[in-house]
């Protein structure tokens, strides 16, 4: 059976589990012919799903829920990532010690669906995002950490497993920096879940396919956690752009393993509720306006994991 | 010689332009017989080109009748009854001289062998044998003009319409081509309608000189030349020649009242 999986970013260790499952033949064992489609900037995985270009996608929950409200009924069938790797990284010498110090500062944020957690957080803190002395000035951050290094921004968004490492690689020592993990600030939202279209789930054959897919994928993830070096090399082999470096991928794999560690693939309803609560608190321009119904199902993971 | 080749009666042609109508031709009456060499002379804008184009069915008269070989002008065009030679040679630069002469033959669907013979014949006729493979820019202006005449001769049209074919050439080359054109005319017995600005040229070449005047374009004088058909270049210094030239000039002067 064919499965096309749409990633939400370029090939890197963030998606190691799937590449491992592919390379180690876990998918084959489940009788699946899996194609992994790398994403990239400006590719919206829900759009690919809607267009029929993929059977399943990886996505952050805020983005997936927003798509649901936009009339594209996507459903979370598995959640390999237990915790969030998103954080804000600031220069210590700007005097920032807590969120309230953000006022009057410039902060780099990713958009393209990744801005939701930040906006919710700021509205919970009661800080405007329209600039001025009482608010923060938001920059749409590009794809790299230069805004921080060149001090165009006082803080930027980073992932524990990727950009933060790049900042350190650039020669910055950790004690020059202050970091705010969303996980620690209580505004974490679920990242990197597996989503499919709701209407497809009505088809038992598709369901069965997904059960096998999730099972094999999770097997891949667990292998990757235990063999980070080898997993990183597998990712490197699959990188068509040749942009990734070994050192970087190995470290990324190490950090990723921390995020997937707590999950067996099934979604913890408490995490879901916390994500929804965070998003609903989204201030003037909330990401979602109502508690979503049927946005996740445990059927697949239940069947896959017993 | 019963049927005239060109017969125009009460021919008028008006262009509608942004500044109002332009009467390019008004009540033109003319008969051209087979074998005639008719020159049209007159100041700029008097409708010489327009008349020639009307004969070629490139313009459509507003009123009056015009017949070519007993047909309407349009039918004559479809029957490919004439060859047209423009002021500039207008050879296609991407075709060789031979290719340019072959152009009308290709369009009219002549056979391969036939085409080959015809091109060879007309090139000899205009004394361009050996230049078949050359491109236009490799020839002098006079040679190009002869090639364009050859192009008009290549298919069997008995009527040759020539609109100032030598206008862009210098006087010496022009004299020479005039001589050759006369010889060609004598050899082929075609009917030729020839537009020119030059009085000596008109007088030297024609059996019939049509003097025109502008605004509205009309014929002011038609002079039948008493000169013999055989004409050496020296004929231009004879009293008869000068007399006709005088008459043409007077005709022109008369029709040319307004400021230049």
């Amino acid at each position: 059976d064919e499965v096309r999986l749409q990633l939400q970013w370029v090939t890197q260790a963030q998606f190691a589990g799937y590449y491992v499952a592919l390379e180690n033949g876990y998918y084959e064992e489940e009788d699946l012919d899996v194609t992994v489609l790398p994403g990239g900037p400006d590719i919206a995985p829900p759009q690919v799903l809607a267009g029929g270009g993929a059977d399943a996608m990886l996505n952050w929950m805020p983005s997936a829920l927003a798509a649901r409200e936009k009339g594209l009924p996507v459903v979370n069938i598995a959640q390999p990532f237990k915790s969030s790797g998103l954080m804000l990284t600031c220069w210590k010498d700007t005097g920032i010690t807590g969120p309230q110090d953000f006022k009057g500062k410039t902060i780099g944020v990713w958009f393209f669906g990744n801005e939701y957690p930040f906006l919710s957080w700021m509205s919970q803190e009661g800080i405007s995002t329209d600039g001025g002395d009482d608010g923060v000035t938001v920059l749409k951050q590009g794809f790299n950490v230069d805004p921080l290094l060149q001090r165009q921004a006082d803080c930027i968004s980073t992932m524990t497993y990727n950009e933060f490492g790049q900042v350190l690689d650039a020669g910055v020592s950790e004690d020059e920096l202050v970091t705010f993990k969303y996980e620690d600030m209580g505004v974490a939202t679920l990242e990197d879940g597996i989503y499919v279209l709701e209407e497809n789930l009505a088809d038992p054959a598709f369901k069965d396919k997904m059960v096998r897919f999730v099972r094999a994928s999770m097997k891949g993830w667990k292998w990757a956690e235990e063999n980070p070096m080898e997993a990183a090399m597998i990712v490197l082999e699959n990188d068509e752009t040749g942009a990734q470096t070994e050192a970087h991928q190995v470290r990324m794999m190490g950090e990723i393993a921390k995020l997937t560690a707590g999950s067996d693939g099934s979604l913890d309803p408490a995490d879901f509720d916390r994500t929804v609560a965070t998003l609903l608190a989204g201030g003037s321009d909330p990401v979602i306006t109502a508690v979503p119904e049927g946005a996740w199902t445990s059927e697949i993971t239940d069947a896959a994991l017993n | 010689m019963a049927d005239p080749v060109i017969q125009a009666s009460d021919l008028s042609l008006t262009f509608q332009t942004g500044d109002g109508p332009v009467h390019a031709l008004k009540d033109v009456n003319l008969t051209v017989d087979k074998g005639d060499f008719v020159s049209f002379i007159g100041p700029s804008g008097c409708g010489k080109t327009t008349f020639l184009r009307a004969i070629a069915a490139l313009e459509h008269p507003t009123s009056g009748t015009l017949s070519v070989n007993g047909m309407s002008a349009d039918e004559a065009r479809k029957a490919r009854a004439y060859g047209y030679v423009f002021q500039a040679a207008g050879l296609y630069p991407w075709r060789t001289i031979g290719g340019n002469i072959r152009l009308p033959l290709e369009i009219m669907g002549y056979g391969r062998a036939d085409m080959y013979d015809r091109v060879k014949n007309v090139l000899e006729l205009v004394e361009l044998a050996g230049f078949e493979k050359k491109y236009p820019w490799q020839l002098s202006g006079g040679m190009q003009q002869r090639a364009s005449i050859a192009r008009a001769l290549a298919f069997d049209a008995d009527l040759l319409l020539m609109d100032e074919p030598f206008g862009a050439l210098d006087e010496i080359v022009r004299d020479r081509l005039n001589e050759e054109l006369l010889a060609l005319w004598a050899r082929t017995e075609k009917t030729i309608a020839f537009v020119t600005h030059s009085i000596p040229e008109a007088v030297y070449l024609s059996t019939k000189i049509v003097v025109m005047s502008p605004r509205p374009g009309r014929i002011t004088d038609v002079i039948d030349s008493p000169l013999p058909r055989e004409r050496p270049l020296d004929i231009r210094d004879t009293p008869e020649f000068i007399e006709i030239a005088h008459r043409v000039r007077d005709g022109l002067r008369a029709g040319h009242g307004d400021a230049v």
Partner: protein, 324 residues
């Protein structure tokens, strides 16, 4: 002979060399102020005394004033990692390393693996070239067809041209991801998707040039064919088309350059290799030399493609008897 070639050197090569040398000199000098803040921060980390002492203060200081207050610390300006402006030799090294060195000695290089390495610009250049050429061919054919329609149909002439102009004001990069997604949904991906964007960018210059070219025959040349009572098809093949050839080539040169830009733009979202992916990767990981190297390869490729079209043009025009 040697006098002539010497003359040619003096007239054509020398000025270019002089300009390039000047540019390189300016570049080397510009590296200092461009990188000064990072250089000083690095020096500070290594324990040097920098004026002013904190990076936050230096943020608002002028670059040149920093250069003049800390002249002794600038030694590493031309060898920075993640430089804002890498020095020319850094770019050259990167170019060399990611072409020759990677292919001959790299584990994935052609020498050791039998196929081009996905870390070399040779491979990525090839990926981009494929999409460029395919898009160019599709786009040019569309452009020619459109031009023929415009020239032969009054309603098309009136209605299509304004939209063709408007189509060019649409930021294609904004549409690229959408186009790619839509093409995904009809089962096309990768090469074809990128080529679609290339074709979109290259059809316009060809259409405009060809409309001009097909209309270039003057009234006399058209009248000549009318005296032969030639048909529409005959006038197209025998007159309009040959007359438009110079215009066609002029616009093909613009179109192929546009097509290359389209391919690179298409490679941003598709991330399956190519110079665009390479540039983005460079930007993503702060490797400015990598961006510059890919840029230079792209420019060389564009120049090569344009030259190639020019070569075909010269051959064609010669075959058509153009005056040398």
């Amino acid at each position: 002979m040697s006098a002539r070639s010497g003359n040619r050197f003096g007239r054509a090569v020398l000025p270019v060399l002089a300009v390039v040398a000047t540019l390189l000199a300016v570049w080397y000098v510009a590296v200092v102020p461009m990188n000064v803040k990072e250089v000083l921060t690095q020096a500070e980390r290594e324990g040097a005394v920098v004026v002013p002492p904190s990076a936050a203060e230096r943020r608002d200081a002028g670059r040149w004033s920093l250069v003049f207050t800390n002249p002794h610390l600038l030694g590493s300006s031309w060898s920075m990692d993640r430089a804002r402006l890498p020095a020319p030799h850094q770019v050259a090294q990167e170019l060399w390393a990611s072409t020759w060195v990677e292919e001959t000695t790299g584990r994935r290089g052609i020498v050791r693996s039998g196929s081009f390495s996905n870390r070399s610009l040779v491979y990525h250049g090839g990926v981009t070239l494929g999409a460029t050429v395919l898009g160019f061919v599709i786009g040019s054919m569309l452009g020619v067809l459109l031009a023929v329609g415009i020239v032969y149909n009054r309603a098309m002439d009136l209605s299509v041209m304004p939209w063709a102009i408007i189509s060019q004001t649409i930021p294609i990069v904004a549409l690229a991801p959408m186009i790619i997604v839509v093409l995904y949904s009809v089962g096309l991906s990768g090469l074809v998707a990128k080529a679609a964007i290339s074709a979109y960018l290259s059809f316009f210059p060809v259409a405009v040039g060809m409309v001009k070219g097909l209309r270039s025959p003057d009234a006399m040349q058209l009248d000549l064919l009318r005296t032969y009572s030639a048909g529409k098809a005959q006038s197209f093949w025998k007159l309009r088309l040959p007359a438009s050839v110079p215009y066609l080539f002029a616009s093909l040169k613009i179109a192929i350059a546009a097509s290359l830009v389209g391919a690179i733009v298409g490679e941003l979202p598709v991330q399956r290799g190519g110079l665009g992916a390479r540039m983005l990767g460079g930007s993503y990981y702060g490797q400015t030399e990598q961006i510059w190297a890919a840029l230079i390869v792209a420019a060389v490729m564009a120049a090569g493609l344009v030259w190639f079209i020019g070569w075909i043009e010269r051959r064609t025009l010669k075959a058509m008897g153009a005056q040398p």
